[in-house]
Each structure stands twice: as C-alpha cells, then as structure tokens.
C-alpha cells in the first residue's frame, strides 16, 4: 500500500498547538486516594508547554520515542500532549498487560520511559526510566529554555505506537499516523457534534489511543472532559453528570445491573427510569460502546427501558473507528455505517475489509514475520478477520471473528456468535462461548452466578439456541471462574480470548464431552 495516494488534508494536530486553549473548559481527573483535580484547559496549555521544555532539558529530540506505563492520571495527559507538541512518538503500555515486562525500554527502543511506581516498579532499573510523578512538578515549573514553534506534521507521520492486546495471541505494535487520528476525530465530530456544554467521561486506559482522542477533542472542539481511573468511573458519573460516557460492553452490563439494583429489583419501568436518572444524571446525551460485541439485552435496556441512547460501533486497532451508530443513523444490533473517509466491503469469504482515506498504517511495527501481509492488503484494505454483512441501508452487522467459526466432525461450519448472543439474553448467564471444533456437537461454556440452579440454566441454554442456525447447542459446561482480565481470559478491552479460554477450561471441557469428541 502506498500511503502517499491519500491527499486529503487533516490538520488537527497542526492547529492543536497554535490555538489558545479555552479558559471555559476543564479537564477533571479522578485518581484513587486523591481529591479530584480540575484544570482549566487554558492552564493545561501552559503546563504542557512547561513539560515540553522540561523534556527538551532532558535531552529529547523530535522523533524520539517516549513510553508511558501508567494508569489514568493528569501526568499521563501532560506527557502525551507535550510529546505531540514536540513531535515525539509515544508508546502507551497498559500496566495490566505490560507492567511486569522487565525490558520494556529496550524491547521497544524507548528514549525515555515514564512509569507509575505503584504499578510498574519493575521498570525502575532501566536507564531510560523516570517516575511519572516528576512530570507534575515539571508542569508547574517554567524552564529556562525557549520552546520551539509547534512542528508541522505530515499526514503520514507516526505519532504513537498502539499495542494490540490481542484476542488471539501476543501483542503486536502498530504505528498510528497523524492523518488517521485527524480523520477519525473529525468524522466522529460530524456525527456527534461534541462542543460547549458537553462533558465527556473517559475511564478506559489512556494507553488506548482512542481514549486520548477525547482529550484532543476537548481542546479542539471546546468541551469539558473528565478522566477517571476505571475504578472511579461510577463515582465520576455521579459527581460530574457527564453528557457522554465512553465505555465498553462489560461496563454497561455492570451499569445495567447497578441501575436494576437501585430500582429495587421489581423491574417496574418507572422505577428503572428514575434509577437510571439517579445513576447517570440528568445531562446524559448518549453512551458510546465498542471494542467488543454488546449484549442485546443491555442495548435494549438502556434504549427502551431507560430512554438513554447507546451507540455501538466497530473498529480494530488496525482500522481505528470504522463504523458507528449515531443520532442520525442508528439501527440497534448493527454497528452502524462507515465514517466519512472509510469504505467497508464484504469479501467473497464473508470477511470485513476496511479502506480508509488516511490509513492507520500499512504494516505492524512489531509482529512476527508474515503477520503484516495477512492483515494489510496490497490494495490498501485491512483484512479484519471478522465476518459480516451490510444491509440495504448500509449498516454493518458483525457476525463474529473468522476464527469464531466452529467446524464440527460432521463437516458443518457454524458461526457461533449468533448462538452466543442468544444465550447471553438469558438473565442467569453472565458469559459464554460456544465451542465444538473437532467434536460431534456444539457445547456452550457458560459462566453464571454461583447460586443459580444449574439444571435450570442448562435447560434454558439448550432451549435458547434451538432454531437459531443449522445446529443448536447440545451440551452445557460451566466455567466456574468465568472469563476475566485477571485470569487472562478477556483482553483489556473485554473481548473473549477463545483459545485461552479453551486451554484454561480444558479439563472441564474434556469431562463435559465425556472424555471423547
């Protein structure tokens, strides 16, 4: 793929540092064990410039690579923006996945690595390592060095490295181009018109580039943004009454349960609406969900029962935000229509292929040999590895990963996602995957509350999948530990790691199938 064929100019990063940041907008930060901090964006600009000059005093130069391994905090924002101001390349490492990897700085050729000592003390021994706490002091201390004029980015410049947590294996590293960030932000803005009066809540890790978008958006489109440690998300919602909550399906599933609990459990619609208002506040405009498939009952709960819009979208690290439901074009169950400058095609193999005016990149920076070629096609497409279809109105429906397909010993090939969605509608089922490759029948591996009657759950699961496709689930196996990030069975974005799950539960699966295929 030749990145130079894309001529459309997006100039977001080039204007971000030449404009005066608004004194009416704020960044508010919630961290554990600290009072929330509020910073006017106009003050934030000065702090970022101080950090930028301090970084220069530390010897960094344009193009240097700056790693950050930290949970969400003000210092993270300051470093990220200062790095953009100077033309550095950031690399955000999620502490949950990377904190214990001892050779981060050398493995990823980092010139500086800022680490949070509460989570990533293992990084301290690297010569490039700095404690992230030092950044706040630098932000409040003007340096005796003049700041160069903001650099002018080319659309093809890489400004950050994203790491895929990987639902199938080891993390891959991918450089994200400035053009791709600008394109995603401007097309998202067209759909949602974030602006004065809006407060966006961000609590997913800032190591995910898309979460940092909302900081850039606050500066560029002039709105407030609240950044929280993920554990303080609900408290931030209740204190700040955001207009938009950027989440993932697992969070909204939990939020649904919380609202139901607050409503008193009898399921009365009026009580649920009131509880939703009490929990989400009166200002909510919409909920943003993506990164993994949302449960249909959760989408219905927020939209129909609570009257709160929830917009599902689709995108991978390799494609950035690709499709999105939004106020002007919304079909529940779909992941929306392509963003401006994005084209989605369904291949003859049923796979979803994505073309962008400004591609994220055309290869991985860190991946095993041959992996890039399987994903980044020579015609500019990204082969997502997901299966889907597009309806007559242009809405995309994701049917599952290509590797979500189970091939039974009878030769039947079954896309398991529709079966899983049907099972997940059962109130007693928390999580499930359907398995069966190399076996004679389909089984559902199910996680449920410990005191649910297992016989009832089994019966409901078996009934639920009848008539959904050519094969129904015929066996139910219980996954007592569930699937979580802690046990390594969910990615940091809440996606199931199918292979890891089957390895983890291998013994109970074998037993469930009676020791035979």
């Amino acid at each position: 793929m030749n990145l130079e064929v894309h001529s459309k100019k997006t100039t977001l990063f080039n204007t971000l540092f030449t404009k005066k940041w608004n004194a009416n907008d704020t960044l508010k930060v919630y961290c554990a064990g600290e009072q929330p901090k509020t910073v006017l964006l106009s003050d934030l600009q000065g702090m970022v410039e101080n950090v930028a000059t301090w970084l220069i005093s530390q010897g960094v130069k344009q193009g240097n690579r700056l790693g950050i391994v930290s949970t969400n905090r003000l210092e993270y924002v300051l470093l990220d923006l200062a790095a953009l101001r100077l033309g550095l390349v950031t690399a955000g490492f999620d502490p949950a996945s990377f904190a214990k990897q001892q050779d981060l700085a050398d493995s990823y050729s980092l010139d500086l690595l800022f680490y949070d000592k509460k989570f990533a003390e293992t990084q301290a021994s690297a010569k490039q390592a700095r404690v992230i706490d030092t950044v706040l002091e630098a932000a409040l201390t003007p340096q005796d060095i003049s700041l160069p004029i903001p650099i002018e980015y080319d659309e093809k410049d890489v400004c950050t490295i994203k790491f895929t947590s990987g639902s199938t294996g080891a993390a891959k590293g991918l450089g994200a181009t400035v053009g791709s960030v600008g394109q995603s932000l401007s097309s998202t803005q067209k759909m949602f018109s974030h602006g004065p009066g809006d407060t966006l809540l961000v609590f997913l890790p800032l190591s995910l580039l898309q979460q940092r978008y909302w900081i850039y958006s606050a500066i560029h489109y002039e709105h407030d943004v609240v950044l929280a440690d993920s554990r303080l998300a609900l408290e931030a919602i209740q204190q700040e009454h955001p207009t938009v909550i950027m989440g993932v399906p697992a969070f909204f599933d939990a939020l649904k349960e919380f609202i139901e609990m607050m409503a008193g459990g009898d399921g009365h619609p009026e009580a649920l609406v009131n509880a939703a208002k009490q929990v989400l506040g009166e200002n909510i405009r919409y909920l943003w969900t993506g990164s993994a498939a949302a449960r249909p009952d959760t989408l219905e709960f927020f939209e129909r029962t609570c009257g709160v819009a929830i917009y599902e979208g689709y995108g991978l690290n390799e494609t950035c935000i690709t499709t999105k439901n939004h106020p002007e074009a919304h079909k529940r169950g779909s992941v929306g229509k392509p963003l401006d400058g994005v084209r989605v095609e369904i291949g003859s193999d049923g796979g979803i292929y994505v073309y962008r005016d400004h591609p994220v990149n055309d290869h991985y920076m860190y991946a095993a040999e041959g992996v890039s070629e399987k994903v980044f096609m020579s015609d500019g497409a990204v082969a997502t590895g997901d299966l889907g279809h597009i309806d007559e109105d242009g809405f995309l429906y994701v049917m599952g990963r290509a590797d979500d397909v189970v091939v039974l010993t009878n030769g039947k090939t079954i896309a398991v996602r529709p079966l899983e969605e049907r099972i997940l509608q059962l109130p007693d089922v928390k999580q499930t995957i359907v398995i069966g490759t190399g076996r004679h029948l389909l089984a559902a591996l199910v996680s449920t509350a410990p005191d649910n009657d297992r016989e009832d759950v089994k019966r409901d699961v078996l009934n639920a999948t009848r008539g959904v496709g050519s094969e129904a689930v015929e066996l139910v196996i219980f996954a007592d530990d569930g699937f979580s990030m802690e046990n390594g069975l969910l990615t940091s974005q809440g996606k199931v790691r199918r292979r890891a799950i089957q390895e983890y539960y291998n013994e109970v699966i074998q037993k469930g199938y009676g020791g035979q295929s």
């Binding site: 064990g33 554990r231 998300a233 609900l234 410990p450 009657d453």
Partner: protein, 88 residues
C-alpha cells in the same frame, strides 16, 4: 453487629443476587468473587453503592485499600477506616 456490618451484608446480598440468601446468611470470610460472583467490575459498583450510603467518596480509598478487598470482612475494615478518617 455494627451498623457498618449490617449495611455491608445487605449490599453484598443485593449485589450477589443471592437467591434466598438473607444478609444475615452472608459469610463475611468468603471470597466475594468465588462465593458471590462479585467480579472486579461488580466490586466497584458495590463499593460505589456503599460509598453513597456511608457518604464517603470512593476516591478517598488509596491503592492499598483497594488492592486488599477480597472478602466481606475486608470491606468492613476499609469502610470503618475511611469513616474514622472522615470523623477525625
């Protein structure tokens, strides 16, 4: 039984959606995740609800407090500590 314990028992019973399990039957020494299905996400929701009831902020708990909550008795300990801190 202290007021803190009574409230925490009630919230665990509600969050766990325990069928037929009254707050008095909650085993405070049992692992919240294994015994009641209270995963990390649900634990945050449980703690947020408790904070609301005790009128304290979740952000007043530091990393050490948050890292050691596995059982009902841990919740009692950290909430009593934060309430004492707020009172002093």
């Amino acid at each position: 039984m202290t007021t803190t314990e009574t409230i925490i028992r009630r919230h665990i019973a509600q969050t766990a959606k325990s069928k037929g399990k009254s707050p008095e039957d909650i085993d405070l020494t049992a692992n919240l995740k294994q015994e009641f299905g209270i995963s990390s996400m649900k634990l945050i929701l449980l703690m947020t609800a408790l904070c609301k009831e005790f009128d304290v902020l979740l952000s007043s708990f530091d990393e050490r407090d948050l890292a050691v909550i596995d059982r009902g008795e841990d919740l009692i300990r950290v909430f009593e500590k934060v309430q004492e801190g707020a009172a002093s």
